[in-house]
């Protein structure tokens, strides 16, 4: 793994965090740690307990690394720890296991304009609340409201802001916000006995150990819980006070509450870096955008990629205790692999028969891993340790020179013939990749989503393993409809092997059309491991399509797609086309 070690412009080993540099820095920037509620300098320490405990210079904020422009901090630093010429460094580390713990992003509620966040001073988020009540915060723990720096007495909390709201594409529960608000009400009641807290909620989910007890204490401390999410917030421009309109669904009446301050209990979302990490490590996501684990119950910290484990929020919303539990589990799983010191590679890799190889090099071109070495005029050679077993090469080779171990042509063609031996006209033939589409079928099963029983699935490791010959054989055996299914582009378990699937489908559609076979009888779908619903829906569609295929059409395809002797010649021609 290559890591970019970012330049700090301050030598960690020399800086003693005296803070003289920040005192003289003329630049003022919003302090990210304090949610922008106070300011920091261009040279700063992120927060007093930061690790490493050293200042850092943000070059984007600095007046310039030209000491003539400023250079005040260099002058004042006795330790000579500041170096404007510091550069990012690329560090390479070889590792046997990776734990992904990239956390979360907090929802920005600006788009939910009805709550007036950013329009009204005294509407804040729960993250801003944390800084305002914290002794280490911008107000040293004196809880005041932004508009007039007075202590608010009537404080409202709105729950599920950016959670359980399919209308804005956030259907999932963020898990932590109910308890966080309960905690906030207790903190306020503890600091200021005269405070009047009101919580607007749809459900209070206090399901964890000692959570219900906290909820009861919050109510005993005087917090009012009103079932209903406000539809509207208005501000009195004179006082900065807020009026919240809400339908109290317990009694069904419309209520108006005047408040000094409103806290939006914001939800959480997958971190924006998730896609990048996902691509690097060939991971997949569930429908809510968090990482998908190997098995939701039995392998909750394992990624589908061996040696990769999940810890914390990036797998699903969870609180600190659960994050710590999962981190321990992930460390234990990673440790087991490291202790073993070796790993068995599933024997599904590619083998090339040197005798049969026509030295065309097509296999090397389609290998996503560069695991096939080929030089002009030489037979191709597989590097077994680099081969992941997708089978793109096996499906590409026109000369039968490649054997995909445990997923051979013989094995797969035998399955095609066996499935379609009797009454093929009644069946929808499906090729599904192990990682996504087949798993999507499993998900449909686990979720008990019904679909027509006419489909017959054959599993390959990757959709790229499905050769033209296999599809044509299915039609020759009388399949009315053939579906090829694989991972979504971003989720391909073999980097980008499924692009070969797309190319093959284009060729197959052309072939079918030329042979006078309705090309629509061949379908392609990307179905992820999480998309049990989509799997079932697609099977329903395929069944509808099957019903449109006539016996005459099936018979015609059987005859028209019979192998022709010119196949070898065409293959040679294809191989000769330069890239």
């Amino acid at each position: 793994m290559k890591i970019r070690k970012k330049a700090r412009y301050v030598d960690l080993s020399l800086c003693n965090a005296c803070g003289e540099c920040a005192n003289v820095c003329p630049v003022t920037k919003p302090d990210e740690y304090q949610m922008g509620l106070s300011s920091r300098r261009a040279i700063y320490i992120p927060f007093p307990q930061a690790v490493p405990c050293s200042y850092i210079l943000n070059m984007d904020d600095c007046l310039g690394n030209n000491p003539i422009a400023c250079g005040k901090c260099i002058e004042v630093c006795e330790k000579k720890a500041i170096n404007y010429d510091d550069r990012d460094e690329i560090v390479t580390r070889e590792v046997g296991s990776i734990i992904v713990a990239i956390g979360l992003d907090v929802y920005d509620p600006t788009e939910m304009d009805e709550y007036g966040y950013t329009r009204f001073d005294n509407v804040i988020t729960s993250m801003e609340f944390e800084r305002l009540i914290c002794a280490g915060g911008p107000t040293a723990g004196h809880f005041v409201r932004p508009s007039d720096h007075q202590r608010p007495k009537r404080i409202g909390f709105i729950q599920c802001v950016g959670s359980r709201n399919p209308k804005i594409g956030r259907p999932y529960c963020s898990n932590i916000c109910c308890m966080n608000t309960i905690k906030d009400t207790l903190l306020l009641a503890d600091h200021y006995p005269d405070v009047e807290n009101v919580v607007f909620y749809q459900d209070i989910r206090a399901f964890g150990k000692s959570f219900e007890d906290m909820f009861q204490r919050s109510k005993e401390a005087g917090t009012r819980y009103i079932r209903g999410l406000p539809g509207d917030v208005e501000e009195d421009p004179e006082t900065g006070n807020l009026t919240v309109t809400v339908e109290n669904t317990t009694g069904g009446q419309l209520e108006r509450h005047e408040l000094d301050m409103l806290v939006l209990s914001v939800g959480v979302q997958p971190p924006k870096d998730l896609a990048k990490i996902s691509g690097l490590l060939t991971l997949s996501k569930t429908s809510d955008g968090f990482f998908m684990e190997s098995h939701p119950k039995l392998k909750p910290v394992d990624a589908p990629t061996r040696g990769v484990h999940f810890a914390g929020f990036c797998e699903a919303p969870k609180d600190i205790k659960d994050s710590v539990c999962q981190a321990g589990a992930a460390a234990s799983r990673a440790g087991a692999l490291l202790n073993a010191g070796q790993i068995q590679i599933e024997a599904i890799t590619s083998r090339i028969d040197i005798e049969a190889c026509m030295k065309c090099g097509l296999c090397a071109k389609v290998c996503p891993y560069g695991a096939i070495v080929w030089e002009k005029g030489q037979p191709a050679v597989v590097i077994e340790a680099a081969c992941a077993g997708c089978g793109a090469c096996g499906a590409t080779c026109q000369f039968g020179a490649i054997t995909m171990r445990h997923f051979t042509d013989d094995q797969l063609l035998a399955q095609v013939r066996a499935v379609l031996a009797d009454d093929p006209q009644d069946k929808v033939f499906v090729f599904a990749c192990n990682w996504c589409s087949y798993a999507g079928g499993d998900m449909a099963g686990i979720s008990r989503i019904r679909y027509p029983s006419t489909n017959r699935v054959v599993r390959t490791m990757c959709s790229a393993r499905v050769s033209e010959e296999m599809v044509l054989e299915a039609f020759r055996c009388g399949a009315p409809v053939v579906l090829v299914s694989g991972c979504h582009y971003a989720d391909c378990h073999y980097i980008n092997a499924n692009r070969q699937t797309v190319k093959r489908m284009q060729r197959l559609w052309n072939t079918l059309e030329k042979a006078g076979v309705r090309p629509e009888r061949l379908q392609l779908e990307w179905i992820s491991a999480a998309e049990g619903q989509k799997f079932a829906k697609v099977m329903e569609q395929m069944e509808q399509l099957r019903k449109t295929v006539t016996a005459k059409e099936i018979e015609h395809a059987k005859q028209a797609l019979k192998p022709k002797p010119k196949k070898a010649a065409r293959a040679r021609e294809e191989a000769a086309v330069p890239s």
């Binding site: 740690y33 992120p46 307990q49 713990a101 956390g103 098995h295 029983s453």
Partner: protein, 202 residues
């Protein structure tokens, strides 16, 4: 020791799992077992209540010995769940683990076609036929063993990442903790008090 029988004669054993009522509730397992016996090279077909449990696995092992099986088809659940279980099972009976094939009668059949007894049974038969056809072409395979670098990387220095890194470090492993911000701590470091115990976050 793994013994690979000579392939002069293919001898397939099929093991059909009821999975309690998970499969048997929607599929005629008796009919599927009878059907399996008619398939080419199948020398025995055995129906089980729970094939993955010890008695079920023992039946497979016994049958391998008794019928000199050199291919095994387990018609039960998804290979994504129990393939390792049954590979281990046939290995213990002296068969190369790659000579075992599964037919997915549960996730891909009984669980999604309840109430469609005939359709589900027809499908189950096809899935078994498909697995047997494939099994007849299975070959023993040897897995490549590669060394694992004894070091770990943790991406993200929030509470989960820090905890994982400490655990791995305590276990004596070398750990690289990668964090994009200037300090570790993550979002948790921005919190004041944390539930349910109301103690400080840092």
């Amino acid at each position: 020791m793994i013994v690979n029988p000579t392939d002069d004669e293919i001898r397939v054993g099929v093991f059909i799992c009821d999975c309690g009522l998970n499969i048997a509730g929607a599929v005629d397992c008796a009919a599927v077992t009878d059907y399996a016996e008619t398939l080419p090279d199948v020398v025995c077909a055995v129906r089980n209540k729970y094939t993955c449990a010890d008695p079920g696995q023992n039946k497979i092992k016994d049958a391998i010995q008794q019928h000199r099986l050199n291919r095994v088809v387990v018609a039960s659940c998804t290979p994504r769940q129990h393939e390792p279980t049954f590979r281990q099972c046939v290995r213990e009976a002296g068969l190369n683990p790659y000579l075992m094939e599964m037919a997915n009668l549960r996730e891909h059949c009984s669980w999604v076609h309840p109430g469609d007894w005939d359709g589900a049974t027809r499908k189950a038969k096809d899935l078994v036929a498909s697995a047997v056809a494939r099994a007849r072409f299975l070959q023993p395979q040897e897995e490549l063993t590669v060394p694992v670098t004894r070091a770990a990387m943790v991406i993200g220095g929030g509470v989960a990442g820090i905890e994982a890194a400490i655990e791995l470090g305590d276990a004596g492993h070398k750990v690289v903790l990668v964090e994009k911000q200037p300090s570790i701590g993550g979002i948790m470091a921005q919190l004041d008090k944390t539930y349910p115990t109301m103690d400080c976050s840092i």
